[in-house]
């Protein structure tokens, strides 16, 4: 046999061996899976969420677990790629036999597994997928955050009622469902309230040059500029907004979380909606931020807070159900009505939490650093 044949044989042998390596589950623990993007484009969000979930699990286990059983958390990395999410889901459900899954982070990943989670009666709670249709698949699918339509409405309402804006411009990422969902809902609500969206411009993920779009936007002279995207892109857009001398205040959504650490002075005077503010004067928030900072040496972002909440919501529902029967757990999930880090959480009939959103304003502190100051609360 030649060298390559030996190699080919070896590959086959390893592959075959690997197929039979499924492992049996233990009895004295409750298995929960987490699907988060630990690597890939949005790994910054995924690692923080994972850390927060892990922290919540450690806390629960330190207190003796759920009804005397320890939680075993199994984390899978999906790289924010729906194909990998499906594989991770299959592994968690068929090999590890988890009863609940915390994830996925992005809406497109969550959407790729909701149907099967429902069919297999696995409780799924996404900490952060805001797309409206995520929970449509059925009564086993929950989320810990509010959805796009609520958030779009919050920002639109804020723009009209607090900022008295009449004309709005929107600059959004046409290739990103998150950005598009917010665009749609903001526009709908803003026009419903009597305002006018004078111009909508778009770009693709990864674009760096927004001058052409901004030149057009400037020509329409809007009162506010809504930019529903993540902070990394927003910080880039904001610089070009200022260099083009557009005076309208910028508005954003929860993707702007952490903008204060990632942008310069050009974002001062902008507003965005968020799930929580780490500076908020609230005992739960303070406690969470303190513990997280002690453990991981960084200030937790909103997704971390949501991951932490999602874990507690699920754990408490399992505790109340008193068994690992997921049909009981899902009923108990619906009975959730408690104050968590990101606010009072109660699920509506579509298993979306009914909770208020915070509007924050980017301000320049006395030390020259940017801070996110409380600018108002919008109730559902």
């Amino acid at each position: 046999m030649t060298k390559s044949k030996v190699l080919a044989l070896l590959v086959v042998a390893v592959m075959v061996a690997s197929m039979f390596t499924g492992c049996a589950g233990g009895g004295g623990e409750i298995k929960i899976g987490a699907i988060q993007p630990i690597s890939g484009q949005v790994s910054a969000y995924g690692t923080q969420t994972r850390d927060a979930i892990q922290m919540a699990v450690d806390e629960i286990n330190a207190k003796g677990g759920i009804n005397g059983k320890k939680i075993k958390l199994i984390v899978e990395d999906d790289e924010a790629n729906p194909e990998k999410t499906v594989n991770a889901f299959k592994k968690l459900v068929t090999q590890d036999k988890v009863i609940g899954i915390i994830g996925a982070l992005t809406s497109k990943c969550s959407l790729s597994i909701t149907k099967e989670a429902q069919q297999r009666k696995v409780i799924m709670i996404s900490p952060s997928s805001t797309n409206d249709t995520v929970t449509d698949a059925g009564d086993y699918i929950f989320r810990a955050c509010y959805n796009d339509s609520f958030q779009g409405q919050v920002v639109a309402k804020f723009a009209q009622e607090t900022l008295k804006a009449k004309n709005a411009a929107i600059l959004f990422d046409n290739t990103n469902d998150y950005s598009k969902g917010l665009r749609d809902n903001f526009k709908k609500k803003f026009e419903e309230l009597g305002g006018k969206v004078v111009i909508e411009e778009s770009y693709a993920t990864g674009d760096k040059d927004f001058n052409a779009q901004l030149t057009k936007i400037k020509g329409t002279n809007p009162d506010v500029l809504f930019i529903p995207d993540y902070y990394s892109t927003v910080s880039l857009i904001a610089k070009q907004v200022k260099s083009q001398n557009i005076k309208a205040p910028m508005l954003g959504a929860d993707g702007w979380d952490e903008i204060t650490n990632n942008a310069g002075e050009e974002v001062v005077g902008s507003f965005y909606s968020n799930h929580y503010s780490p500076d908020a004067d609230d005992a739960d928030v303070k406690n969470f931020v303190k513990k997280y900072e002690e453990k991981y040496k960084i200030t937790p972002n909103a997704l971390a807070a949501l991951g932490y909440d999602a874990t507690y919501i699920l754990a408490e529902a399992i505790e109340r159900a008193g068994s690992t029967d997921t049909s009981k757990i899902k009923d108990e999930m619906m009975k959730t009505n408690k104050k968590f880090v990101t606010g009072q959480i109660k699920f509506n009939e579509k298993r979306n939490p009914v909770k208020s959103a915070v509007m924050v304003e980017v301000k320049k502190g006395s030390d020259g650093k940017l801070t996110a100051g409380f600018a108002g609360i919008v109730n559902p």
Partner: protein, 348 residues
């Protein structure tokens, strides 16, 4: 000669059928669990698309970097045909393949007259344009939010049975692709295609219509990639333009290169291996892609022929050797049946 051909056909049918029965039984009894069954099925789709890429890159010698784009066309058109027109699955998959072939034809006409490098870049650009189109044709494709609710292969409610059915369909299409590709390269157009790889100018002067055969191979390749895409759509039930990015195209190139450009068995082995390795390498997080890149470079530098070079593992020879003690003197040799259904008797 005729008897030989008959013998070959029987051997291959029996091998592929028994391998199928074996694997299906293992999945059915749960010895191969659902997760591995899933990976095996996914590997089948990877093998189909990689084989299609091998046809144009390995056998014709033209590097194409947009096969994820072809897959996207196949996936979206199959899904839309099933969902909007209520066409049954099999005709829909073939229709998806045909639509992709038309796309291939349209892309190929301007570029295949030119040198190979242009094809690489144009196909890359094509992949990007397809993404832009998929995002903007919102009414049809669901845009950036993706296309939900493509009906699955089967929805019996029994997960094990579903897994077996899923696997069976994909396996069937893998066999179909294998039959098409291996017969194609043994046919007269296939010889022409290989001669283009070996020396374009020489084959031109031998009277081979080079642009025509390049076109032929490219369109065929697009057709098969489209079929792979169609299966992918049904398999996942959810499509998103971002699932078909440039890196996915590169994945297929990696498979073909690792398996050996111009080897069908190599592609099969590398395709299955790649699917599994991707899962294992998840623990390396972002290092995974660094490893891929280094692997690609080192294979090209130190082992340019890949796993198999242009050689094949022939089941027929194997069966002859071990069951009939009927040694023949053909230059291709035997080895493991591996994923079984390889049938080419060595390309050269």
């Amino acid at each position: 000669m005729k008897k030989n051909r008959f013998f070959n056909a029987i051997t291959l049918t029996v091998t592929s059928a028994s391998l199928y029965i074996l694997l299906a039984l293992l999945i059915f009894t749960g010895i191969i669990d659902e997760y591995n069954g899933q990976l095996l099925t996914l590997a089948g789709i990877y093998v189909i698309v990689s084989l299609s890429l091998n046809l144009i890159t390995g056998f014709t010698g033209q590097l194409a970097l947009g096969h994820a784009g072809f897959m996207a066309v196949g996936a979206y058109s199959t899904a839309i045909i099933i969902m909007r027109l209520n066409v049954p699955m099999i005709p829909a998959v073939f229709a998806g393949g045909l639509i992709t072939a038309i796309f291939g034809l349209l892309i190929g006409i301007p570029t295949l007259r030119l040198r190979g490098d242009y094809l690489a870049i144009t196909t890359l650009g094509f992949g990007e344009i397809i993404r832009v189109i998929m995002v903007n044709l919102e009414g049809l494709t669901g845009g950036a939010a993706g296309l939900k609710g493509v009906p699955p292969f089967s929805d019996s409610g029994d997960f094990i049975l579903d897994a077996v059915i899923k696997f069976s369909w994909v396996y069937g299409f893998v066999i179909f692709t294998l039959v098409v590709v291996s017969n194609l390269i043994k046919s007269s157009p296939g010889r022409a295609i290989i001669s283009i790889r070996e020396d374009e100018i020489a084959s031109n002067s031998m009277g081979i219509n080079v642009p025509y055969y390049k076109m032929f191979s490219f369109t065929m390749s697009a057709f098969l990639a489209g079929i792979g895409g169609g299966l992918y759509a049904i398999y996942f039930g959810y499509l998103n333009p971002q699932m078909f990015g440039f890196l996915n195209s590169v994945n297929f190139v990696v498979i073909v290169v690792l398996g050996g450009m111009g080897s069908i068995t190599g592609t099969i082995l590398a395709g299955i291996g790649f699917t599994y390795i991707q899962e294992w390498l998840r623990i390396f997080k972002d290092f995974r892609l660094v490893i891929f890149g280094l692997a690609l470079i080192s294979v090209m530098l130190f082992w340019p022929k890949g796993l198999m070079g242009t050689n094949e593992i022939s089941v027929v020879k194997l069966v002859r050797k071990y069951f009939f003690k009927n040694k023949n003197s053909d230059n291709s040799s035997s080895g493991s049946p591996a994923s079984g259904e390889s049938q080419s008797e060595g390309v050269r």
